[in-house]
């Protein structure tokens, strides 16, 4: 039987309800990011750069846009004869079928897919994080340490450690304890939701976890604690670099603002680590005579006649003359009319802001406007989230 060294299973089924109206029609990994990407592009590009040739994408919530976006995986070099990208929604078998109950169950339900590829290692990642990571280094570490499982961790500020799944480790970075959002953290090593498992070992745990009716079938809550209880060798792999979970409106906005920092700790335009995206074709961006664009990212297809400062404009965004866009994230195909003020706002795709509208919170709070809305000067939204 043919075998592979490793494959990736990418969890992309989450609804992302904390992204509010941005995910009313699409799954979280498909939410636009950084002017020309979707969130999932970052993990997919990591896979490409890490030389992984087989990726299973586990989908459940509103998969249509994601499906058509991924297609045959060509933008990420996954249109290959051997391997490539497979969309894996829940399915019916001989004995019926069911929705994915949790992250571990989602992988369990696709163990035929994994067995078919017969990998030695399985990389489990999720499609809602922004980071650039060569998973090879982690795999090397995993093999060298002879671990059953390796979990990528990031040192977070101690004050924020209570927001993450925290790994308590010994002096060789072996994980001895896992604390989900601990009130009093003993360590500041946060799980990045990036796991490498030995497939044979994991399969046994997934099968047992399935039998356990009290389990929530989740990697973080069930599989990892069970492995720790059994004294399996779980290793922490320390990742150094930028990583951001963009699961909330605030963090999504913050991640965009991080892109605009000078100098930035997370550059999109790194020639050695390009972020691949299912590019639509758009004309070059036009900046008019009276426009003023500073500290911003502007993608193709934009027509800018007004002032844009410290903001991200996605493709086909128009900013009319006399308008001011500041500290904002404007998603694709948004039309901003003339003499509009937009301050600290995320505007969803396809929304139209009519002439003269003022969208700004007096207390400088973040404002979200959903997709395909129409905002007139009368209906101007002034309240923050």
């Amino acid at each position: 039987m043919a075998s592979k060294k490793w494959i990736a299973m990418l969890l992309a089924g989450g609804q992302g309800s904390r992204l509010g109206e941005l995910t009313s029609d699409l799954a979280k990994p498909a939410v636009p990011f950084g002017g020309k990407y979707r969130i999932i592009d970052f993990t997919l590009s990591n896979c490409t750069h890490s030389g992984i040739d087989t990726v299973g994408i586990l989908t459940q919530y509103r998969p249509h846009i994601l499906n058509s976006y991924i297609g045959n995986g060509r933008p990420w070099d996954f249109d290959r004869n051997n391997g490539g990208v497979s969309m894996l929604p829940p399915y019916q078998g001989k004995d019926g079928g069911e929705w994915y109950k949790g992250t571990a169950n989602a992988v369990y339900q696709n163990f035929h897919f994994i067995d078919h590829n017969n990998p030695e290692y399985v990389l489990v990642i999720s499609g809602d994080h922004i980071y650039k990571m060569d998973y090879n280094n982690m795999l090397e570490d995993h093999i060298e340490k002879g671990a059953h499982a390796t979990i990528a961790v990031l040192e977070v500020p101690w004050g924020e450690a209570n927001r993450f799944g925290i790994m308590n480790t010994n002096e060789t970075d072996q994980i001895i304890e896992f604390d989900e959002k601990p009130k009093y953290p003993k360590s500041n090593l946060a799980s990045m939701g990036v796991y490498i498992f030995n497939w044979k070992h994991l399969k046994k745990y997934l099968t047992e976890d399935e039998q356990d009716t009290s389990s929530s079938n989740d990697f973080g809550k069930d599989i990892i604690p069970k492995m720790l209880k059994d004294e399996a060798k779980l290793q922490a792999y320390r990742f150094k670099g930028y990583w951001k979970d963009v699961g909330t409106i605030e963090s999504l906005w913050e991640a965009h603002m991080d892109l605009l920092e000078e100098p930035s700790n997370f550059k999109l335009g790194d020639p050695n680590w390009q972020i691949y995206a299912g590019n639509a074709n758009h004309p070059p961006q036009y900046i008019s005579e009276d426009a003023d664009v500073t500290q911003s990212l502007v993608n193709e297809g934009c027509l800018v006649f007004g002032k844009v400062d410290h903001s991200v404009l996605s493709y086909n965004v128009q900013v009319g003359s006399g308008s001011i866009v500041q500290n904002s994230v404007i998603m694709p195909n948004v039309k901003i009319g003339n003499n509009v003020i937009v301050e600290k706002v995320i505007i969803g795709s396809g929304t139209v802001i009519e002439d003269g509208a003022v969208i700004s919170d007096s207390k400088k709070g973040l404002i979200l406007i959903g997709e395909n809305q129409r905002v007139s000067s009368e209906s101007a939204l002034l309240k923050a989230l």
Partner: protein, 368 residues
């Protein structure tokens, strides 16, 4: 549905753009911030659902092959149809004319599942609706339709364009080769529609009689035997035949009306996909009336200019009325005006280049 075969004929390209076409064919010359000239014809073909495109290449077509790849961006990566680049099969001999190269690849025409052929050069910046051209070709019951445009550029002394004379029914009565164009002249766009079988028959006959030029030996020679219909193209199309006209026609794309007309109001113009990040405007950037493509990092001043993908304009640098092609690097304090820099040019720190009347070209990969 009609089956249309697209032919892009580069055999008759003339070296009018000097340095810019020193190492590349005209069709692959960058244009409009992120395109190459051939993209416009390719996209016009796409709009009429051409399923097979042949590019008759003469020389200097490496960058063209790199740009077109498998034709995927123009939906031409098909199993049996798709994109074909057909160079001369006698590279050591001087080519006698486009018909010879057509004849050398006659099998390509014979095999194509198509009844109609469009032949066009690779450097026209325009949006021709070939659906309408073919419709008129058929309703006129024409054997050959010849596209022409009334000259609207500045008068030129050099004899550079072929001119059509038409009767009141729009039938082509004469063709004059290499005339000096002035306003209103019917300039032949070297773009034709013809039935495939007729084309094959005519090619064979010409080769038998040692005739090798499509316009002269197929079109002009048959004006009395065949119905050769004129089609006046009235859309926007700059006449590009010199560095000045190349520079000026790029600058015309800074007119929002032309921009909208080309890119927003009708079918798209496709080009090679690159995975460049969105353009980055630094806090110190001052950009006005310019096209700035993806992958650019702008820290300095850019006015009335076309900036291609991956260009860096550093702090304190000033770019005015210029065209900066891919991956150009304008270093701190440099000042350039009325300049065309080819790909990967570096203008070093505090360097000043200003051209008065004619744009100056800085050749590919030069560090100035």
């Amino acid at each position: 549905m009609r089956n249309v075969l697209g032919v892009i004929n580069l055999v008759n390209e003339r070296p009018m753009l000097k340095e810019l076409t020193h190492h590349r064919c005209l069709a692959s010359l960058p244009f409009g911030g992120r395109y190459r000239m051939i993209d416009f014809t390719m996209s016009n073909f796409m709009n009429v659902s051409v399923s097979k495109v042949a590019i008759f290449a003469k020389d200097k077509y490496r960058s063209l092959m790199d740009h077109l790849g498998s034709g995927k961006e123009w939906d031409l990566d098909h199993r049996s149809q798709g994109l074909f680049i057909l160079p001369s099969i006698h590279p050591d001999e001087k080519i006698k004319g486009d018909l010879q190269q057509f004849y050398d690849h006659l099998e390509f025409f014979q095999r194509a599942i198509a009844d109609t052929v469009i032949i066009a050069p690779g450097h026209h910046i325009c949006k021709i609706d070939f659906n309408d051209v073919i419709k008129r070709h058929e309703s006129n019951d024409a054997d050959i339709t010849v596209l022409y445009k009334d000259y609207d550029g500045k008068s030129v002394k050099r004899p550079i364009y072929h001119q059509c004379s038409l009767d009141k029914n729009g039938v082509v009565r004469d063709i004059n080769f290499f005339t000096s164009p002035k306003k209103g002249d019917h300039i032949c766009l070297e773009t034709y529609v013809i039935k495939k079988q007729l084309l094959i028959d005519l090619i064979k006959i010409c080769i038998e009689y040692d005739e090798y030029d499509f316009l002269k030996d197929i079109v002009k020679a048959n004006l009395n035997n065949l119905k050769v219909q004129g089609y006046r193209f009235t859309g926007y199309m700059p006449f590009i035949h010199s560095l000045e006209t190349y520079h000026a026609s790029n600058m015309e794309f800074l007119n929002p009306e032309i921009l909208r007309n080309f890119f927003y109001d009708s079918w798209e113009v496709f080009t090679k996909i690159k995975h460049e990040a969105p353009a980055e405007f630094a806090n110190s950037s001052k950009v006005s009336n310019s096209l700035i493509a993806n992958g650019c990092i702008i820290e300095g001043t850019v006015e009335d200019s076309i900036i291609f993908r991956g260009v860096k304009v550093k702090k304190g640098a000033v770019v005015k009325n210029s065209i900066i092609m891919q991956k150009g690097d304008i270093e701190e304090g440099a000042h350039i005006e009325n300049v065309i820099t080819d790909k990967q040019v570096v203008i070093t720190k505090n360097q000043i280049i200003t051209a008065m009347n004619k744009p100056i070209v800085v050749r590919k990969e030069v560090v100035f």
